[in-house]
């Protein structure tokens, strides 16, 4: 919650500064913010319900088996692979990660999952190729996968 207090403070200060400089622009910015927020609402509601459903029916035992603290290197690989394929926004993914930990998953395994979830995009690879062509896209995703492996290993060592 501390992070969000910081952001509220910064946002309020900047709105005041902006308002003093230019009322019209500030109004425009706030309308934009409101519109993006309301635009996000449908997927937001759908996703919180989806995560609620998922976490109610996927038992802690299953998660324990796939990403459990004792699942070792295979658990990390599971996490890396699931994260590469799955697609969900960060504001769903990180609370999910915290819940996975509570359900008995290991830190390194969850790190692998979250690492690739954020950085590797198997489900968006064709879209990425449209913008960056085949080579660059594949290089970038391999790079992101390697970074996620390192991240999982480091987390496994220090947490």
């Amino acid at each position: 919650m501390n992070a969000s207090i910081t952001f509220y403070t910064i946002a309020i200060i900047l709105v005041i500064v902006s308002f003093v400089k230019d009322k019209q622009k500030t109004k425009f910015a706030l309308i934009k913010a409101y519109k993006s927020f309301m635009g996000l609402m449908p997927s937001l509601i759908a996703m919180v319900i989806f995560v609620g459903l998922l976490l109610t029916f996927v038992s802690p035992n299953t998660i324990g088996k796939v990403l459990g603290e004792d699942s070792g290197i295979f658990g990390i690989i599971n996490g890396l692979l699931i994260g590469s394929i799955a697609m969900m926004p960060g504001f769903i993914a990180f609370p999910l990660g915290a819940n996975l930990l509570k359900a008995g998953a290991g830190y390194a395994q969850v790190a692998g999952f979250l690492g690739t979830l954020m950085a590797v995009g198997v489900s968006t690879i064709f879209l990425e190729m449209k913008f960056f062509k085949k080579k660059t896209t594949i290089y970038r995703n391999i790079l992101a996968f390697i970074g996620s492996i390192v991240f999982a290993i480091v987390i496994g060592m220090v947490m």
Binding site: S4, F7, V15, A29, A98, F131, I155
Partner: protein, 178 residues
Amino acid sequence: MKFIKKYKLSLFFILIVIIVYINSPENGKNIIKLATNDFKTMLLTIPPIFILIGLMDVWIKKEIFIKHMGEDSGFKGIMWAFILGTIGAGPTYGAFPVAALLIKKGARIAYAIFFLGIWSAVKLPLVIFESTAMGIKFTTIHIVIMVLTYLLGSFAIEKLLSKESKDELIENAKRITE
């Protein structure tokens, strides 16, 4: 009608929750509890982010950033790629067109890839969610490792690309952002 169309996925999930509730009130209650808790967290966290993005949108012109990210911009170009990436909002595929636009406007390819990496892994709104949910230590390690990976990796990728591939990339960026 517009409302139903917009919220069709939510309504579909609500329907499932109702069916679950009828069959097992205990499971139904659990889903509602989990969903409302997550929803409250989000309602508290998201508004300031969107306000900041709105402000940046009206005050900072994109062209100004792009000018500073060219082939000879050096460390400054990396810094700008980093800043642009961290203020990103939305899913990674939202960054693809922005990165393509950067390339089209003459930004160095390595910086565009670096920007994409920063956007995907360490954009500010994400950092807030991550540090709230996973803790500061976890988040810091995540940021440091991904930044280092992309810092080294984006230049490596640029090196691996032939002159033809680079030209193709620039041509493609021009075509796709028309």
